[in-house]
Amino acid sequence: MPEASLLKIGFKIINMETIETDLDSVLKQEYQHGFVTDVDESFLPPGLTEQTIRQISAIKKEPEFLLEWRLKAFERWLTLREPEWSTIHHPPINYQEISYYAAPKSLEDGPKSLDEVDPKLLETYEKLGIPIEEQKALSGIAVDAVFDSVSVATTFKAELEKVGVIFCSFSEAVQNHPDLVQKYLGTVVPQTDNFFATLNSAVFSDGAFVYIPKGVRCPMELSSYFRINATNTGQFERTLIIAEEGSYVSYLEGCTAPQRDENQLHAAVVELVAMEGAEIRYSTIQNWYPGDENGKGGIYNFVTKRGICKGDNAKISWTQVETGSAVTWKYPSVILKGDNSSGEFYSVALTNNYQQADTGTKMTHIGKNTHSTIISKGISAGHGQNAYRGLVKIAKNADNSRNFSQCDSLLMGNKSGAHTFPYIEVKNPTAQVEHEATTSKIGEDQLFLCQQRGISAEDAVSLIVNGFCKEIFKKLPMEFAVEARKLLSISLEGSVG
């Protein structure tokens, strides 16, 4: 991929001179009253300086503490270097060429009807069985009253409010619940955590905020898809979910419909906090644009996701289906601090064409009788490279802790690669840790059997791969599972024959 094409797509071309003069005057302004006024609030020109951060914060009318927090992260970020330890290779990213703020797009900017939408995208919608009105919504077309996601979401919101659940965008939370944000932000993924998390801490745009009060079982699956203003949460998403004592929540992120995004670099941070006896289930379907058959374009997805089981008997479960992005770099992790707490990680990662995935989990056992389960399925086709990288750490006082890990890889095509890098660190003599991994080619005999029964090669592959991933799909909420299955088949198109 030529470097020049990288990360330049994100901003509108407008008269640079006027921006510069506008900006100059803004930049020269002293920081007053916490706000900077007279700025075009729709976007910021490329570049990252302390001023950029002050402006983001000002546009979003953030309280002082958050600005301070962002600035501290930025200061730290300047001292960091991009990590190089993964198996992922990509051209260098020029962080000064990125625009760090773009306001949610108004619907008027989008296409007027489905005729204006990329036919390839529509074809995929068709295969996924997405209703026509929903297709319009996904493509960013203003939808009529029959299918108004805004009103659907409003109904949901009312129901949630009844039980005291807070579910809103991160920016709203900053305005309406600053105390909660201040209390928990950065407590699971500290600002200093890693290059991309630190960058996110400095420039994060928006994301989701969920708070489940004590003893409440969230009455519905929360989905980022139905969030108001979810049209463009930006490339630096920040999610914070807090489950108070004895509560339960299941959160769904992403959707199966392919998402075209103009921003190439995504660096999200997700933090989960589970108090005593609370349970958080977090499911992700990631289907960002993976680039074309020749590996051109595609999203770079560098995500830091971590949950902490703060209290005893807490439970956090990550389920992910990763089929998109040119580069996926994410390790949803659990810190098992409370006694008897448990962490789970179920993952399907599929790489086709020139996609690269380096994903896995970290389970840190600190409390006694803590349990963790890791099931990871990697599928590599075409030139795809897929790596599982995980850490299971049993601290000295984590008596009777238990881990089971299984990582299987399926290979299709002799240019693909599958890698497994588990790290196991045990400091307690009562812990039991097991890891196993297998890597093999898709079964010729299975393919033969299917084809002999009249199933086409392509369908046979999809059948076998779905069987291989069945364990994970079972963990997804039902409607997600159905879509995930279809998604897998589509993502595998062209990988046989």
Partner: protein, 446 residues
């Protein structure tokens, strides 16, 4: 100003260069100089290097160990006997601080087509015979300890089997370390070449003559197996707990050759075993077995790497660890399947017993696969003795310690049984018993 150990090695090299074996050999001179330059440039690795993540070698890096030079003094029979070594049915070579001591030279002669010599002798008399292979498998700069060995290379063994030659008795290389006033490093260098169809067994044993001597053993072995050649290679390390030990073995295998390695680590304060295998032609096979037992403050690190470079090769690996007291174990096994190495079969397993609350095990089996028609798997476990089994044995009248020892014994016996030579199996069992009772005694004192 204090000079760093690296600087001391560099200046020591300048001092002794002329006295090292083969000073008149230009090819060797170039290699040595490259090696010392590499040490100067790279220094010693620290824990931020991925390969040294779990092993802190600052105790080695911060000390200048005087490289042992010259020829060895004769070892007294009485001293040797005290070590209780059994050489029945084997071909022994004894090394004192890395230097060959010709104790048995008169009475022993290898069969035709086989030469077993000291490296110093070969470099003086017939350097051409080792020129093609010596240091050729060890890329300069890839490992500072190999470079250190190469730069100061003084003695070791050269084993050569010509086409179809077979050595039935094991060749036992016994490396004895004596105590010195200053910290020293003994650096034996071994080269084993098996021509087409040849077959041999080589045993490396490491022992300390004195219990509390502080020294570093930095041994490098290069092995080349031609078509159909078969080699069994054993390492038995029983040095004392105040020593540091780095053992690097690099193997290159040709078509249909077979390499079987067994590495037993009982001794040494800080041990790092590097075992790198390259399967360079079709249908080559290797099996790697290892047993490590750490107690006291021992730290034992086993690093293995198998490179599947050509199709239809097989590798199999099983390492077992027993960690007690403050013992710490590290296992890092990598299987790398290169593109086009189709029909690869690779299996890897590491199982560990963690027996004390101050012990630690860090394991990292890795698969890196760039071909699709493969069958690869790995597994790792860390656990403890089955309490039900302990209870069963105790209900039969065994005391707690005996019951536990018996279960540990049954865990490791599998590895001992893989050794083909009875006398060695017996010696290993003895060592095991001594080790287990030493741990038990320590526990009772506590």
């Amino acid at each position: 100003m204090m000079t760093t150990p690296v600087e001391q090695y560099v200046s020591e090299f300048a001092n002794v260069k002329a006295n090292l074996p083969g000073p008149a050999l230009p090819w060797l001179d170039i290699i040595r100089k490259q090696a010392i330059r590499s040490i100067d440039r790279n220094g010693f690795p620290h824990r931020r290097h991925e390969e040294w993540k779990y092993t802190d070698i600052s105790s080695i890096a911060d000390t200048f160990f005087q490289p042992v030079q010259g020829t060895a003094p004769t070892l007294l029979w009485k001293e040797l006997n005290a070590l209780g070594l059994d050489f029945t049915d084997s071909y022994p070579m004894i090394f004192l601080d890395g230097r060959y001591t010709p104790l048995f030279s008169d009475s022993l002669k290898p069969p035709d087509g086989i030469s077993i010599e000291s490296l110093q002798h070969v470099l003086t008399v017939n350097p051409e015979s080792v020129k093609k292979h010596l240091t050729r498998f060890s890329e300069t700069g890839s490992n500072v300890f190999t470079d250190l060995n190469t730069a100061f290379m003084n003695d070791g063994s050269f084993i050569y089997l010509s086409k179809n030659a077979k050595m039935t008795q094991p060749i036992q290389l016994v490396f004895v370390s004596t105590s010195q006033k200053e910290p020293v490093v003994s650096q034996p260098r071994n080269l084993v070449i098996l021509a087409e169809g040849a077959k041999a067994s080589v045993v490396q044993r490491f022992i300390s003559l004195n219990q509390n001597s502080d020294y570093l053993t930095n041994v490098v072995t290069e092995i080349f197996l031609d078509q159909h050649a078969q080699l069994e290679h054993l390492v038995i390390q029983e040095e004392n707990f105040s020593t540091s030990h780095i053992n690097t073995i690099r193997v290159q295998q040709n078509k249909q050759s077979h390499f079987a390695s067994q590495v037993f680590t009982f001794g040494g304060g800080l041990t790092r075993n590097n075992l790198d295998i390259e399967l360079n032609a079709e249908e080559a096979e290797c099996s790697l077995d290892g047993l490590f037992m750490a107690n006291g403050d021992q730290h034992i690190d086993n690093h293995t790497r198998v490179d599947h470079k050509k199709p239809s090769c097989t590798s199999r690996e099983l390492y077992k660890g027993v960690l007690d007291s403050n013992g710490r174990g590290v296992f890092n096994g990598k299987v790398y399947v290169h593109p086009d190495a189709q029909q690869t079969k690779a299996f890897q397993k590491n199982t560990n017993l963690l027996l004390s609350k101050n012990a630690e095990m860090d394991t990292k089996p890795q698969l890196e696969i760039y071909a699709d028609d493969v069958s690869c798997s790995h597994g790792a476990t860390v656990g403890q003795l089955d309490e039900k089994a302990v209870f069963y044995l105790r209900s039969r009248g065994l005391d707690e310690t005996k019951a536990r020892d018996l279960l540990i014994y049954s865990f490791v016996e599998e590895m001992i049984q893989k050794v083909r030579f009875e006398q060695l199996r017996d010696q290993l069992r003895n060592t095991l018993n001594v080790k287990l009772s030493a741990t038990d005694e320590r526990k009772e004192i506590n």
